[in-house]
Symmetry: C2
């Protein structure tokens, strides 16, 4: 026997119970369906990667390696648990140089990071990524963005928004604000935290990093340009259109939006110049999906033209998105999903057990999950058990019902009971 | 850049490419659908478990621990990657003592074993398990066995067979053959290998373990009793019915078969007394699913009434099944599945690009995966690309087609071309 105090999940990891899994599985089905419609093909890679791959130039970098579970196997090879799905993608491309490009792949799988543990922050979490490798065209970014919108529509989301920005616009704004070249990385890092810590504290960071107050203020003004995509981009052009990078970034977003409007649903897109993410990683358009502002971003991505190239030693452009499964599941559980648990078939006594089995077989044949007693319990205890599993419908079979060739259907929620044939029963359950 | 020779998957692990993943995803969808119909609920547990849990009494035992990837995390806790899905289930039950029993759960997930690497033997593999915890009834075993049959029927298998035996019958046969108590484990271990090494070598093992030749021979005769389930059980009863365990085992299989006939499809069941598996683990009925004898078992399971009890320190009966995803996928890829890859929408030149996007949107809206060019390629190159992805249909849009409000649909396999409206096109592709 395991000692009782030792019986737990590792710190920062958890079981996902049936009620939560129901939501997740429905969610993943929806995500997969939309990914496939956009021509993304599934790929699976091992949970473990060699340390050489995880620590290669172009991969996640020193900070993330610090948070990577790693060990030497018995053969003396250092292995690490993957911390994202992008490095495995780059490794896959490197190992399969003749794969037709553009390569559209999706991958859904666990990743592991030995980070600080907090409420809602785990050391094992599920990611769903879709990427297009080998296209420089803004059409590819539009595909990714349109696909993101369709995923949330498919999942039943209504109030959500895709916030778009471009790494090049951010660079141009920093320069236009008069922040010197050597401080650009510092400024990016401070801006990166805008969402988390607020404007006031970003100013604090600016001064700590010796970015002049005036420049910082000017930058914040630029970042807060708002409005419909067209207007916001026009205003940005007026200010930073003179800087090559700025002009390029604006042009990228215009193309992206024009294409996304044709492929998908443009009403979900919004330009937000304050959006900054992984500034050392992304090279073009970036975006995040937000749900009525109440929770953090549900998905995010963008163009990263250098990462795979660095990894492989030759240039390969790429763009992609990653969905935060835990957060989406949390929203869905609260807002959208009603669980389906089928039917429990209860027998009044031993003599009905054959009929119980036959009925269960018929329900399953009709596509309705069905369970019955496995412990020889009394009717009352069977009903308690069904109730404890939150099964919405119980079918009761007794001598009287058998004689009439019928069953008693009870709706647990309403308490309503009906005497019906099995066929009617299946119809009633299917229609809720 | 990663050094080219370092760019590989860890030894014994591999990527699963899109063509293979297509089969797998369809397979897992089918398995999940049947699991749910039988009232199994999804559970997910971490890839890592604490070493205390993995090495607890009742868990996998010393041999498997030798093959378990393990390491100390930065907090000095020893963690191991799970080697099966049953130990996590036992740990889950221990952590959730108030969960309603019987608890029917399924789990689909990776497991890791640092074993010898050979063709088709990997160190990371996917398992799909369904278990019922907390019922002693043969009805539970019948549910598991019937569910296994329905899974294979759902997946499109025709020639397969569930071979049934009972741990208690095997024990009684060993005793009846005159093999002494102290040699029972040795005999089991030898019989365990019957499938793999053949009768001759099992005899060799017998003599090595000092089991008398006569006793060994008698045992092999008992194990080879064949026939329809009823007949085989009757013959077994005639021989070992005098031994309590034997009588119990025969009674168990009779009940199981009677119930399975009512819940499921009895024509797939066969009694095979030579079937032996994990004899130190299983306590009652055991079974394996075989496909036309060409490959090893595709799924296997049985009743294990002691394992969870040992782990928890109190008695909890359990029965379950594990599906070998890799092997099933291999058979399905060869025998049953045709890949679906949707449509590639090709534009004759730049001027058609709007129409290409609109068409793709329409296909996706109609449930057909659709892709188009992202690199500004010529029509010929677009067609080559589509072909390299094995996309069966290409839709070609040019000026002439646009004028007529039609598109050209080409079936890559037959080479056939048709001028049709988009709506007709969707219908044609859907009907294959």
């Amino acid at each position: 026997m395991a000692s009782p105090e030792a019986i737990s999940t590792p710190r920062g990891m958890r079981d996902i119970k049936p009620e939560e899994m129901d939501v997740r599985e429905r969610m993943l089905d929806g995500i997969r369906r939309v990914f496939r419609l956009y021509g993304f093909q599934p790929l699976e890679t091992p949970a473990l990667e060699s340390w050489e791959v995880l620590s290669a130039k172009g991969a996640g970098g020193a900070e993330i390696l610090n948070e990577t579970y790693n060990f030497e196997d018995r053969g003396g090879r250092r292995l690490g648990m993957r911390y994202d799905l992008t490095v495995p993608l780059a490794r896959f491309i490197a190992m399969n140089p003749s794969i037709p490009l553009p390569f559209r792949r999706y991958q859904i799988g666990g990743v592991w990071r030995y980070g600080d543990v907090a409420k809602g922050r785990f050391r094992e979490f599920l990611q769903a990524d879709a990427d297009i490798v080998g296209s420089e065209s803004m059409l590819a970014d539009a595909e990714i963005a349109a696909c993101a919108v369709d995923v949330f529509v498919e999942l039943g989301f209504k109030e959500f928004m895709v916030r778009l920005n471009d790494r090049k616009i951010l660079s141009a704004m920093i320069r236009f604000a008069g922040i010197e070249e050597s401080k650009v990385d510092d400024a990016f890092r401070a801006i990166d935290k805008l969402e988390k810590i607020g404007e006031e504290k970003v100013f604090g960071e600016f001064s700590q990093r010796r970015i002049p107050k005036e420049a910082g203020k000017k930058l914040m003004e630029l970042l807060s340009i708002k409005g419909e995509p067209d207007e916001a981009l026009k205003e940005a052009e007026r200010l930073i259109g003179g800087i090559t990078e700025g002009r390029e970034g604006i042009e990228e977003l215009r193309k992206l939006l024009a294409c996304a409007g044709k492929i998908g649903r443009e009403e979900y897109f919004k330009v937000d110049f304050s959006l900054a993410r992984g500034m050392e990683y992304y090279t073009g358009p970036i975006f995040e999906v937000f749900f009525s502002g109440k929770v953090g971003s549900l998905a995010g991505g963008g163009r990263y033209d250098r990462m795979i190239g660095l990894f492989l030693g030759k240039d390969i452009p790429a763009t992609g998105i990653s969905f935060g499964i835990d957060r989406i599941a949390e929203v869905m559980a609260k807002e959208y999903v009603k669980s389906e648990r089928g039917v429990f078939v209860a027998g009044v006594d031993e003599s009905c057990s054959d009929e119980v089995l036959k009925a269960a077989k018929k329900f399953r044949g009709g596509g309705i999950p069905a369970m019955f007693d496995l412990r020889g319990r009394s009717l009352g205890k069977q009903l308690n058990y069904a109730n404890s599993l939150k099964i919405p419908f119980v079918v009761i079979i007794g001598k009287e019902e058998m004689k009439q060739g019928k069953v008693k259907l009870r709706n647990f929620e309403s308490g309503e009971e009906k005497l019906v044939s099995l066929e009617e029963c299946i119809e009633l359950i299917k229609s809720g």
